[in-house]
């Protein structure tokens, strides 16, 4: 490993960091615009062209605001909690490949923060860590509404983590039958989804694993605490939920983490089910740089399709009651994911090893 390699690694990490920050700024604006359009409103349109700089303005405002610290907080945990929210949110996206490997100065550069052979496990671990931020914030605030929000977050995260994991397991097992072979690395999973089925249907995991996708989609909405599963920060019941006592930049860090999580989880969904950056690149027919950029474009397109449905559902559905949330998680999603896992396993074994009596 020489200097160029280190530079490339730093560049990859920086690229992921910048991509996440830029998409977060864009996503906050996009969500407000989409929800406004669905409510016959205009949405932000004052700061910059079409209001695109609205998030930048909000961020600057929060940056310069006073950080009020209530008297009864556990200071160390209180300050640490927002950091604990942001770090896993950024690490989550590190293992997701967002484009076809480039060749720079004779070296193959994967467009991915870190090429990890246990990428899926890493993502599950990081998304579980994110819960700590909410729980610690709720507990250390020394106030009852944040505490209630934190308790809700724990229960919700545990319930939906299971369904999320089971849905991902079926995909990983299915992927072991594809050309790339069994792997927990996300770039291998993407490679396994290249090509088409009968000439025009892309070989995405979405089609054979539709049930897993539905479970996964509902679980990531719950994991990112988005409406209709936003009981953690239910304004009408809990003031602001776990971030009631936070202000200024600490509050902004929670918002940043939330939108980073939305993007990372949607990117994960696009990678696991929608073929990642696979798509027509027109190699040879188009200029080289177009072919190099197109995979990233397909990846972002698929990610934003999922993000858009996040916003769509947010604008449509009322919040679930707490017992409904638990019922959906434990009585619907987890059994569905388990049954699907078994069916999928049987189907895969039959395809690979034949029927037991033959």
């Amino acid at each position: 490993m020489d200097g160029v390699d280190i530079l490339i690694i730093v560049g990859r990490v920086l690229a992921v960091f910048v991509l996440l920050l830029v998409t977060t700024v864009f996503n906050v604006w996009l969500e407000r615009k989409v929800v406004a359009d669905m409510q016959n409103r205009v949405g932000p349109d004052r700061a910059g062209p079409w209001g695109l700089l609205q998030t930048v303005a909000d961020g600057l405002k929060l940056f310069f605001k006073e950080q009020v610290t209530p008297r009864k907080v556990e200071y160390g945990m209180y300050v640490l909690a927002p950091v604990l929210a942001v770090v896993p949110a950024f690490l989550l996206f590190m293992v997701v490949p967002f484009g076809r490997p480039l060749t720079i100065a004779g070296r193959e550069v994967p467009l991915q923060g870190a090429e990890l052979n246990i990428g899926v496990l890493f993502i599950l671990a990081m998304s579980s860590l994110a819960v700590y931020a909410v729980v610690l914030a709720g507990w250390s605030s020394g106030s009852k509404y944040p505490l209630l929000g934190g308790v809700r977050a724990t229960a919700q995260a545990i319930s939906y983590e299971a369904a999320l994991g089971l849905a991902i397991v079926s995909v990983v097992m299915f992927a072991s039958t594809t050309s790339a072979g069994g792997s927990l690395s996300l770039s291998d999973l993407v490679a396994g989804q290249a090509g088409t089925y009968v000439g025009f249907i892309p070989r995405w995991n979405l089609f054979p694993q539709l049930v897993a996708f539905v479970v996964f989609f509902l679980a990531i909405i719950a994991e990112t605490n988005r409406s209709p599963f936003d009981l953690v920060e239910a304004e009408q019941e809990l003031v602001g939920g776990f971030h009631t006592e936070y202000s200024g930049m600490r509050f902004a860090m929670y918002q940043l983490a939330e939108y980073c999580n939305i993007f990372s989880m949607s990117a994960l969904g696009a990678t696991l089910f929608l073929g990642g950056w696979n798509g027509p690149t027109f190699d040879g027919a188009a200029p080289a740089f177009v072919s190099a950029i197109l995979p990233t474009f397909w990846f972002l397109l698929k990610t934003y399709a999922i993000i858009f449905s996040f916003f769509w559902i947010r604008a449509t559905m009322p919040r679930l009651r707490y017992d409904q949330l638990m019922q959906l998680g434990w009585k619907r999603l987890i059994p569905a994911a388990l049954v699907w896992l078994m069916l999928s396993t049987v189907a895969i074994s039959v395809r690979q090893f034949g029927l037991p009596w033959s």
Partner: protein, 210 residues
Amino acid sequence: MAGGFGAFLKGLAVTGKVMVDTVLGDGLVTTKYPEEYRPKPQRFHGRHVLNRYPDGMEKCIGCELCAGACPARCIYVRGLDNPPENPVSPGERYGFVYEINMLRCIFCGLCVEACPTEAITMTHLFEMSTSKRDDAIYTKRELLMESDGKVPHMFPDDPLARMSELDTADGWLRATAPNGVAAYEGVQAWQGTPGPASWAAEPSQDERDA
């Protein structure tokens, strides 16, 4: 989970349709206010103005009926005897001090109805926000129109200042003619603009019935 998955899709269809309507069609209900103005109703109650007669004399006679009628007690009037050699109003007295506290005013228009000489009317201007409480107290300097019929604006350089709003009167409905003759009772007279009462006299009820 009542309704199930079908109801969920139905809900998504509703919001999706509204979004298409808003982006492509005429679903948008918001007016982009500082750039776009919605037309106001003819009888809109906006900022007050103190009128003058065509010869330049003030209509206000300092009777304080407006102050008495005001439910918010936001009008302060002090009358003074007209100087005989240089009268300000055609009556015996004139409004020497006339102040309206716009923070208290509820824009009910009772002062306009109470005024015996149509001295106070309302315009269509409603952008009156100030950064100082004192600026919200309008005195005679801001309320009284010039002798050419122009109405002074508190902040003429303000980007929101629309002078045309001040030229549009609220066209309040009068039960009787300006002179209070009973024959005109029930005749509705509309005053299109504030300012000198130069509109043509209306026929009396007797003339109209004949």
